[in-house]
């Protein structure tokens, strides 16, 4: 069965029309067909959260969505966060708080947090930990991830954005 369907999907604001096999996972579509390799694949059974992307603005695991299901929808990946090489406030906070080590799980964590912070502008530590409880990290022990989110939250509250890493890319 080589069931190929043509889909039109908006990824990071750009429309893409592609013929895909119905079984193609969204994670593979993004990484292989579109070359957006910032979305990482860690378990392909929906536990590790590394492949988290936004589907119509909500965080989902791209290994548990078929690419064909995104026909007519909008997807955002980690590549959408920085603008012209300038890190967004959350990325900047991760840099400043040493919130990543190997960085493999990081895109998934960022994409989980981006919409969540919109709905939770003043979270406490437990809230933050719950929000990322579906993202496994083997390097950091999570402490600096939590600190990074707290830092981003406090800066956003102060109306400050950007940071020292923003100038470099």
């Amino acid at each position: 069965m080589t069931d190929r369907l043509t889909i039109t999907v908006t990824v990071n604001g750009a429309r893409h029309e592609r013929a895909v096999e119905s079984r193609l996972l969204l994670s593979d579509f993004l990484r292989h067909d579109l070359g957006l390799t910032g979305t990482h694949v860690g378990c392909e059974h929906g536990v590790c959260g590394a492949c988290t992307v936004l589907l119509d603005g909500e965080a989902v695991r791209s290994c548990l969505v078929f690419a064909v299901q995104t026909d007519g929808h909008a997807v955002e990946t980690v590549e959408s966060l920085a603008t012209d090489g300038v890190l967004d406030p959350l990325q900047t906070a991760f840099h400043d708080a040493h919130g990543l080590q190997c960085g493999f799980c990081t895109p998934g964590i960022l994409m989980t947090l981006v919409p969540w912070l919109r709905h939770h502008p003043a979270p406490n530590e437990v809230d933050i930990r719950e929000a990322i409880s579906g993202n496994l990290c083997r390097c950091t022990g999570y402490a600096n991830i939590v600190k990074a989110v707290e830092l981003a939250v406090s800066r956003l509250a102060d109306g400050r954005t950007g940071g020292p890493a923003g100038a470099r890319s």
Binding site: H32, H45, H95, I132, S133, A143, A165
Partner: protein, 783 residues
């Protein structure tokens, strides 16, 4: 090495921007035109005789390019190298059996690779796996370490006539004499099981053969690209310079991504050369539970002989070590257990022997901590039991036995995993213990908090444990530092990097010496075209061995800068100051050259140079320590246990650690925090559960439980710095430290919370279910 502009500073990481924006290249991100994809058929059975593999249907499937079985490999089929030969210990027995690329006559563990399918996509390759028919005659599986050694046991490797993989005996002093003189001997059986490395990035290989250039390029999730390059060249009949191995960004290593010469690592390059097309294999999570090495069970029968005042007179330990189906990594793990048991304590008499056992389970090699956990657990638990029986406080019995700060170098009189004597270089153990006890508020907890909670019906407990970690072992690493005409400084070193921050810490070391801004230093690691001497990242050695090599190379370049600047500026070398990206004459800032200008002048295109002059501002240096150094630490924790549900909550976790001179505190603290998380996983969440038939019962992230953000507390940390005299920077390793004493700590704290119930903990990992069983058993025994 004293703190400086960069040395000892929490410089934010230089590698972050790429990682945060999704632009860092990981192996699975490599996309090449015409690339094919491989998938492996793996054995369902743990042990059996392979009768036949029929891949004809798979070969006919549309999109399949090739299927290889052991038969198809011809002369290329051969067992992998013995990576670590046994150390020269008298009377040592070692039966070497290394893994094979594809099982040929026999399957020795579940998940062992049987065939490789190459197809136009991974999807098709996996379709084709289902077409292959395997005929296998099952054999009884060997999983129980004691049963494996009994006569008549099924044999993993028939040629040895036994499942014994190794036997090693090391001792110092006279344990029997010590035992006879002891006021108390505590003896127990301990089980310490460990799990998977479970890096979030699975392993992966991409191989590309350029037939016209006769160049093989391999992207590999390895911690040790140089040994892989050299080994692959030898296997494939190529010159070492014809092979380039790149370990790009790696999504966590933790040990098993070392130079294993895994079947996939050996087969992908071979097949890419035969097929003339690039080839990719990315391990999936299920495969990772079989195809990537693990750590596992040791069973210790140990006893501690102490005087009435709690002083250690001697320790005797006899243990079994599960080495899995093959033992390519030699004895590193059990020797670490054997040596690390001694900890920071004066143990005048020690008698330790172990037997490594082949079983029908995946291969055991070092995972973060590498057997050290097992040793620490045994010693710390024995001290806890002795303290209880002697009526001595748990912290006090430790204090009485610590090696004093003036006793270094301290010789334990046995051999370590680096084949060198186990001699501690430096440390201040009483200070660390004191600090940890103070930070956690041990006295106040014991005296008032714990009783107060107990009166309210709550069970809280505290633990305090110490450990030593032998780190920074040889043989050597190297680095090349180059000042480019642009003024950028390039550093190349051979070790792979998996998130430790090498791009930043190595840059700090070089920036410190060359007086440039740290972000003007670009570090390249793990690409054999850039640097091809060295071994790899393991045994908490990156910052120590490669770090000192970077430092040494930077010093050489600094000397070149000074010499050249002195000549051009007509000043005495002693008058030249290197700072702010320039070299100038002291007191005359206008008499200066930028480093870029000096680099240009050091590479003249016309004219003549003084004979013997080396071009450029570049130097390569190597560093090899005499032996490993001793990092150390104390961990303390408060837990609360719900005796009705056996749920455990960590209330506080304190670490005082000493990894010598710290290059970047924030990086070091993060390494410790991450290690503690791994240790908590080991203590309470993670266990590879094999049934009697060698079937792994939890080969997924649904059932193999990595701790989440809700399970790992933020560790409260303090640094102590006793510089190592074994290297110029004075650094010690820290990569594994956090993970080592956590099991022992968990056991002590949970047992303390349950004090009075009769629960005694002699095993790790625990789980709520296991705790419930222990509580129930203790109730039954009391009734």
């Amino acid at each position: 090495m004293k703190p400086g502009r960069y040395m000892g500073q929490s410089v934010p990481r230089l590698e972050d921007a790429k990682l945060l924006t999704g632009r860092a290249l990981f192996v699975d991100d490599v996309q090449l035109p015409g690339m094919l994809h491989a998938a492996f058929l793996r054995s369902d059975d743990a042990h059996g005789i392979l009768r036949s593999i029929d891949a004809s249907a798979a070969r006919e499937r549309a999109g399949v390019v090739a299927v290889y079985t052991a038969q198809d490999l011809g002369d290329y089929w051969r067992p992998g190298p013995l990576l670590v030969p046994p150390p020269p210990i008298t009377g040592l027995v070692f039966n070497a059996a290394t893994q094979v690329p594809l099982a040929r006559d026999k399957v020795r563990h579940g998940g062992e690779a049987l065939a490789m399918v190459v197809a136009e996509s991974r999807y098709i390759a996996e379709d084709a796996l289902e077409d292959i028919v395997v005929e296998l005659e099952p054999l009884a599986a060997v999983t129980d370490l004691e049963a494996a050694l009994r006569p008549g046991a099924s044999l993993v490797h028939e040629q040895f006539g036994t499942n014994l993989a190794a036997h090693v005996h090391q001792s110092k002093g006279d344990y029997a004499g010590a035992r006879a003189a002891a006021a108390l001997v505590v003896a127990r059986r301990f089980r310490y099981d460990r799990g998977a490395s479970a890096a979030i990035e699975n392993r992966g290989i991409v191989a590309e053969w350029d037939a016209r250039a006769e160049q093989l390029t391999v992207w590999d999730t390895t911690q040790a690209p140089i040994p892989i390059r050299n080994g692959l060249a030898a296997m494939l009949g190529l010159g070492e310079s014809q092979v380039r191995v790149i370990a790009p960004f790696i999504g966590g290593g933790f040990g098993p991504k070392i130079m294993m010469f895994y079947p996939e690592e050996v087969l992908l390059p071979w097949a890419a050369m035969r097929l003339g097309r690039p080839l990719k294999w990315i391990e999936d999570r299920r495969e990772n539970f079989y195809a990537t090495t693990q750590e596992r069970l040791q069973i210790h029968d140990a006893e501690l002989a102490v005087a009435q005042d709690g002083r250690i007179l001697g320790v005797k330990d006899t243990f079994l070590h599960d080495t899995g189906a093959y033992d390519p990594y030699g004895l590193t793990v059990p020797i670490n257990s054997q040596c690390t048991l001694l900890g920071p304590y004066v143990v005048p008499n020690y008698d330790s022997e172990f037997t490594a056992v082949f079983t029908n389970t995946p291969i055991v090699t070092p995972v973060r901590g590498a057997g050290r956990q097992h040793g620490v657990f045994v010693m710390e638990r024995l001290l806890d039991f002795a303290a209880r029986e002697l009526g001595i406080d748990r912290v006090e019995i430790r204090r009485r036995n610590l090696i004093p700060p003036d006793a270094f170098p301290y010789d334990h009189e046995i051999l370590f995993q680096d084949f060198r004597p186990l001699v501690y270089d430096s440390g201040n153990y009483p200070a660390a213990l004191h600090k940890a006890v103070e930070m956690i508020g041990y006295e106040a907890f014991i005296r008032s908090e714990q009783p107060r909670l107990r009166r309210a019906g709550r069970r809280a407990g505290i633990g305090v444990v110490s450990y030593i970690e032998g780190t920074g072992i040889g043989p050597y690493e190297g680095a090349r530092v180059t000042v480019e005409p642009s003024g950028l400084v390039r550093v190349a070193t051979g070790v792979g990097t998996q998130g430790q921050g090498h791009f930043t810490t190595f840059a700090q070391l070089v920036a410190e010496q060359l007086g440039v801004e740290v972000d003007r230093v670009r570090v390249v690691t793990g690409d054999t075209r850039e640097f091809h001497w060295g071994t790899g990242t393991f045994a908490s050695r990156g910052a120590v061995v490669a770090g000192n090599a970077c430092h040494a190379a930077a010093l050489k370049v600094r000397d070149k800068i000074i010499a050249l600047a002195a000549r051009l500026l007509e000043a005495e070398p002693g008058q030249v100051v290197v700072e702010g990206g320039s070299a100038c004459v002291r007191g005359a800032p206008d008499r200066s050259f930028t480093l870029g200008e000096l680099a240009r002048r050091a590479n003249p295109l016309r004219g003549a140079v003084t004979p013997g002059t080396e071009p450029g501002l570049e130097a390569t240096a190597y560093f090899g320590p005499d032996r490993g150094n001793a990092a150390s630490g104390v961990h303390a924790m408060i837990v609360e246990v719900d005796p009705d549900t056996a749920a455990v909550e960590i209330k506080r976790y304190v670490v005082v650690h000493d990894c010598g001179v710290v290059i970047n505190p924030v990086v070091v603290e993060a390494q410790v925090q991450g290690g503690v998380a791994h240790g908590i996983g080991n203590a309470f969440y993670e266990q590879l559960i094999f049934d009697d038939n060698g079937q792994l019962m939890n080969a997924s992230f649904m059932d193999y439980l990595l701790p989440t953000a809700l399970d790992v507390p933020t560790v409260e940390m303090a640094h102590l710095e006793t510089p190592s005299p074994l290297n110029p920077l004075g650094t010690k390793g820290v990569g594994e430290a956090g993970a080592i004493p956590t099991g022992a700590l968990f056991a002590q704290a949970v047992e303390d919370a349950l004090s009075g119930t009769g629960v005694e903990i002699t095993e790790i990992p625990l789980s709520p279910n296991r705790l419930f069983e222990l509580i129930t058993q203790a109730k039954g025994a009391a009734a």
